[in-house]
Symmetry: C6
Subunit: 249 residues, 6 copies
Amino acid sequence: MLIEKLETGIEGFEHISNGGLPKNRTTLIAGTAGSAKTVFAAQFLVEGIRQHGEAGVFVTFEELPDDIRRNMLGFGWSIQEWEQEQKWAFIDAAPRPSDDSIIAGDYDLGGLLARIENAVTHLKAKRVSLDSIGAILNRFQDLGIFRRELFRISSALKTMGVTAIMTAERTAEYGDIARYGVEEFVADNVIILRNVLEHEKRRRTVEILKFRGTSHQKGEFPFTIDPQQGIIVIPISAIELKQKSSDTR
Amino acid sequence: MLIEKLETGIEGFEHISNGGLPKNRTTLIAGTAGSAKTVFAAQFLVEGIRQHGEAGVFVTFEELPDDIRRNMLGFGWSIQEWEQEQKWAFIDAAPRPSDDSIIAGDYDLGGLLARIENAVTHLKAKRVSLDSIGAILNRFQDLGIFRRELFRISSALKTMGVTAIMTAERTAEYGDIARYGVEEFVADNVIILRNVLEHEKRRRTVEILKFRGTSHQKGEFPFTIDPQQGIIVIPISAIELKQKSSDTR
Amino acid sequence: MLIEKLETGIEGFEHISNGGLPKNRTTLIAGTAGSAKTVFAAQFLVEGIRQHGEAGVFVTFEELPDDIRRNMLGFGWSIQEWEQEQKWAFIDAAPRPSDDSIIAGDYDLGGLLARIENAVTHLKAKRVSLDSIGAILNRFQDLGIFRRELFRISSALKTMGVTAIMTAERTAEYGDIARYGVEEFVADNVIILRNVLEHEKRRRTVEILKFRGTSHQKGEFPFTIDPQQGIIVIPISAIELKQKSSDTR
Amino acid sequence: MLIEKLETGIEGFEHISNGGLPKNRTTLIAGTAGSAKTVFAAQFLVEGIRQHGEAGVFVTFEELPDDIRRNMLGFGWSIQEWEQEQKWAFIDAAPRPSDDSIIAGDYDLGGLLARIENAVTHLKAKRVSLDSIGAILNRFQDLGIFRRELFRISSALKTMGVTAIMTAERTAEYGDIARYGVEEFVADNVIILRNVLEHEKRRRTVEILKFRGTSHQKGEFPFTIDPQQGIIVIPISAIELKQKSSDTR
Amino acid sequence: MLIEKLETGIEGFEHISNGGLPKNRTTLIAGTAGSAKTVFAAQFLVEGIRQHGEAGVFVTFEELPDDIRRNMLGFGWSIQEWEQEQKWAFIDAAPRPSDDSIIAGDYDLGGLLARIENAVTHLKAKRVSLDSIGAILNRFQDLGIFRRELFRISSALKTMGVTAIMTAERTAEYGDIARYGVEEFVADNVIILRNVLEHEKRRRTVEILKFRGTSHQKGEFPFTIDPQQGIIVIPISAIELKQKSSDTR
Amino acid sequence: MLIEKLETGIEGFEHISNGGLPKNRTTLIAGTAGSAKTVFAAQFLVEGIRQHGEAGVFVTFEELPDDIRRNMLGFGWSIQEWEQEQKWAFIDAAPRPSDDSIIAGDYDLGGLLARIENAVTHLKAKRVSLDSIGAILNRFQDLGIFRRELFRISSALKTMGVTAIMTAERTAEYGDIARYGVEEFVADNVIILRNVLEHEKRRRTVEILKFRGTSHQKGEFPFTIDPQQGIIVIPISAIELKQKSSDTR
Ligand SMILES: Nc1ncnc2c1ncn2[C@@H]1O[C@H](COP(=O)(O)OP(=O)(O)OP(=O)(O)O)[C@@H](O)[C@H]1O
Ligand SMILES: Nc1ncnc2c1ncn2[C@@H]1O[C@H](COP(=O)(O)OP(=O)(O)OP(=O)(O)O)[C@@H](O)[C@H]1O
Ligand SMILES: Nc1ncnc2c1ncn2[C@@H]1O[C@H](COP(=O)(O)OP(=O)(O)OP(=O)(O)O)[C@@H](O)[C@H]1O
Ligand SMILES: Nc1ncnc2c1ncn2[C@@H]1O[C@H](COP(=O)(O)OP(=O)(O)OP(=O)(O)O)[C@@H](O)[C@H]1O
Ligand SMILES: Nc1ncnc2c1ncn2[C@@H]1O[C@H](COP(=O)(O)OP(=O)(O)OP(=O)(O)O)[C@@H](O)[C@H]1O
Ligand SMILES: Nc1ncnc2c1ncn2[C@@H]1O[C@H](COP(=O)(O)OP(=O)(O)OP(=O)(O)O)[C@@H](O)[C@H]1O
Ligand SMILES: [Mg+2]
Ligand SMILES: [Mg+2]
Ligand SMILES: [Mg+2]
Ligand SMILES: [Mg+2]
Ligand SMILES: [Mg+2]
Ligand SMILES: [Mg+2]
């Protein structure tokens, strides 16, 4: 009954997470625009298919599946093939222009959860990515309701027996964890992707902020986005990095 | 009639608190996401059972009891056994999806207090943990009502003759003590758990901000979360730590 | 008709205040949670009784009298005895759970002032402490009304011929003086109690921000809370302290 | 028709203001609590009487005239005598507890202006001080109306042919000039009184921020409050002060 | 059809603006209280009359024309004479106490534009100054409407064939450009007047932030207000200034 | 199906963008007032015509086409000629004074998209610039609706088969990416134009914050606005620049 970890297959990540993502739970991935949230969410499914033969479901709340397919092709990931092999399924949960529920303010969360469960059952999926909740959040005007709905999503995913990633938007690198100041408390696990501007240069880091009930490495670790492989985490911390380089001299 | 202390059993904490938590009172534990609030709240009950044979009641406002059971198993704490031995009881005070009171905005606090008292009487419990009030707070829209309700909870716990912990959420390490800027004034005792990011590294500290009517050590003390033992407070301050290490050289 | 000072009897305070608190007036004592507002407010009455034989009235807006009695016993102050000797009287002005006026938003200030006057007359009290107005403030939603009510309290106390202390809550050590940004302007005298965190250590200081119509020492002075004596002000400023210590070398 | 200056008689002030306050106009004096706004406003009238034989009218919006009389007695200024000699008149414009207009939100500004004019005519007053507008401001909920009312006051004073001071409240030493961010634009002249806390010491400075249509010294100048004389401006800037002291060495 | 520049005649300004203000367009001049907005706006008309024989219209939204006449007399500018020579016309667009439109919230912008056009035609004016829009802004509660009205004013002025200055209020030297965060985007040209406090000294600078469609010098340039001449821009940047002075040594 | 790049023709930009703007997609260009958003948006079309013979459509939401024509003439770009050659078309989407929809709050986005499509088809345009959405944004009061509308625009442009630029307003150089904190998440690509004030000098930089699905250079690169050529990006980063210059010495 101990908390197991699911190997993500993302290079270097298993090391900093002491074995991967907490199995059967949802992990919140918070980051600013362009911080690689979608790449992480997709790569999580990609490596599941390639390394472990595990099918995955990708729920998109704004970007069109076709755009994601094309964006990920840059890394050589041919999602379309996997879709044909029933290893990957998209759920397009974006509001369409014709859709008026957005104005009424009531997003049909129950319907969405049913669609996810359906796909999960159909593909016998083990991994689910939801990207990004920012696009449906501002529909729930009351913070209490929002918090409960968020909890409801991760509870439902737990019941489905999948390991999930849910991305969330931040507007600054070192302020609030996520947009509404409650997401990080509801989530069992929180990872932060940063893209810090210092001296006119950008530097990407990943940090595991919390993993409820299990251990992990602390602090920020640098990562790069490799055109061939996607995210590669460098499993020594930035400070060790500096010390190393100064040692070598 | 002087204020006694209740030994928590958490390593190092008795030292910095001059003997433990003020007996028969409620202590607010404020911290950011992942700062170890839940670990502290659980360990308080665990050590009560293991070291002092005192039963405890754990009130959860969002996480499911089953998740807490599993999370704490990582430290080797088999809550389920204690539940069977009537040494531990969970009160699940989380709003359920089907529950509509959350929308109406009226949380039945009276009902909750009755359930707590019931469990306390039944187990002859000496310790109670409430984790975390953040999940029910935003229901009370008026700050005046919120403040009174908070006061009402700690008064009721005082009447029950238990020593209690109530966790509260913060969104930054060095800003307001708690979310609404009033919690720390209502509480008799306040402890802050920090998880500070400096130079891309995280560092955990615990500080007793106030203990009404009794003495305690001042300032921040480092602590670690040991995979076998849970929280271990290092009873010398960070500054002494630095001085020591520079002395050793 | 010049402004006289009332000796508080708090060690070191007479020195920094050039003789004590302005007689027959109300002094606002603002501080964060745990900054020793209540200790100051109580000790003001205690020393009045012990050193000058002057009776005092303690108005509490949230904490129960019984909790204050017990908290102060830690310093060896047996309030209960003084109550029996008619030297000390508590006025419990806290809203009780059953009390609905809090919801209606109309606190009966007139009634409270009458109760205070009654107690003052009965005990021939010379000193009054009100602790802390934070608990009743948020009832007055309009800042204009709040300001007038605050002014009304201190006018009424002036009429009663007592020297009073009124505590107010701050949420940060170096931002606004008090919660609503108007308290410090209404008050004739303002003292700030600080509990500053620097380099993970806490340091307590007291500063007289203003005394209308009379002189006082400027700047922050360190103080400690002695388990036997309560507040002890160290009547040289922190800067002189440093200079001294560097002189001694 | 050039803008003349009225000698205030405050030591050192004539120097930094190139001759005094712009005659026949209103000068806004903004400062935090205890920054000496009231002392300045009173001393302006005092020196008018003592040095120039000019009568003055003091309008108080919150403090009772009797408190001001007493507060100023500390400097040896016996206002009461001047009142008897018809050299000084108080206008008590504070809302009284029984006064309900405060709730209705409509302060009778027209009535106030008439009372001021009356007193000015009666005493043939040349100087008027209004202290402080903070106490009546929050009655005007609309910023547009507030701005117009402020303008209306200073227009009316201009018509009366007096030189006036109007004090305004600030909540921080180096943020917005005044509470609502518009006062400083409406006023013809703005002076800032500061009481800065640096390294736990307080330091008082006065700065002429603007004098429409006439010259003045720029930057902050230190001042002290002398128990015998009131405000004494040191007419060299703080920087020169430092240079001097380092030259002397 | 290229954008021409209109020589302002303000000493040094032609140099930093590469020839003057963009002809036939409106330039927004933003500055804090006392930053010399009104002096600039007036001097722009003054030099037009004196150096180029061009008539000007001065629209005032709060200060009375008579006050402006007097204020500018300090620089030896006898506006009244020019008014008689039909070289200068005031449009007093300030809301009068008796005027109720301010409460209704609907300022008659169309009427104002008609009055300006009338005066422009009558005087064959080439220059118009509007000082300052801050006084009428808060009447338009909706930001969208405000933005459109602002655009409408500058469009109308363009149609009249004049080169115009419109002053706007800022509350801090280095924060938002103007009060509402949209003014600087609507305007074709933006100039910032600063009056920076550093080390207790004030320093005035002027910066051309943008000139749509034409070149200008970048960065801040120091200026002084000369009692005889008004604004004098020092056409080397502050940094060069420092370098020079350190070269000279 | 990989993401291609469209050469902009802007000097130096192809280098930092690894080949130009992502083809067939919309890129958000965010910048403060005067940061060169309009110059960039126009130059994108200009170089398309001059270097690649590709027609372009310029949608303006506030500035009049005639003003843009004139502003760009400064760089020697004779838009009018291109308009006659059917290489350039303006769509004037600015609200006119007579237009009341702005008050009603419902901007006819569908109508606008139809007009754009019309022009695109007519000119066989490959490039579209929308400048700037700030002028119509505040019409949509609900952030959810705003976000969907933004998404709808870029979806529609994708369908038209054009590569587009959409400019957005920022009020500070290093705070939120764009005004409402959601624009940067909706957009596929984000570029930031900065105009930073340091030591009283301005310095322009361009940064590609994100390009979904494709690579680009990271960090800020300096650029200048050349009176003859418009924007010229200097394709080495500012830091390399400094290192170079210090190497040369
Ligand atoms: N094929 C690629 N090769 C190299 N880098 C790439 C590639 N694809 C994407 N990137 C990098 O990844 C970034 C985008 O990452 P991603 O879309 O995952 O960010 P995000 O956090 O999801 O952003 P948003 O909030 O906008 O959805 C790009 O800006 C680019 O720097
Ligand atoms: N078995 C374990 N071994 C080591 N570390 C653990 C273990 N379990 C938990 N932790 C650490 O404790 C952290 C979680 O602590 P906890 O859940 O008490 O935080 P919290 O303050 O309650 O957070 P939240 O606000 O999310 O409820 C984890 O992020 C992890 O770093
Ligand atoms: N008997 C005692 N011995 C030593 N220190 C004590 C004793 N009693 C109280 N203290 C110290 O005084 C602090 C509490 O002071 P006090 O209750 O006056 O603060 P406060 O400003 O009134 O706080 P609050 O806003 O919570 O009411 C305690 O946190 C403790 O550090
Ligand atoms: N007789 C005196 N001798 C010495 N200093 C005095 C004397 N009277 C007042 N002061 C000083 O002046 C300060 C009060 O100044 P004053 O009342 O003018 O301030 P203020 O700006 O009007 O404050 P508020 O906003 O509270 O009205 C006191 O705090 C004290 O430091
Ligand atoms: N005759 C003069 N001689 C010297 N300096 C003067 C003269 N007239 C004005 N000044 C200077 O100009 C400043 C006022 O400038 P001005 O009135 O143009 O400012 P402003 O930006 O319009 O302010 P506001 O926002 O209050 O209208 C004065 O504070 C003073 O320092
Ligand atoms: N012909 C030119 N020669 C040199 N520089 C020019 C020329 N035209 C414009 N500029 C520069 O470009 C700046 C304006 O750029 P642009 O209008 O593109 O800014 P923007 O970001 O669109 O601003 P806004 O938000 O006000 O629309 C001018 O302030 C000027 O510095
Ligand atoms: Mg994404
Ligand atoms: Mg927890
Ligand atoms: Mg207290
Ligand atoms: Mg005062
Ligand atoms: Mg002005
Ligand atoms: Mg533009």
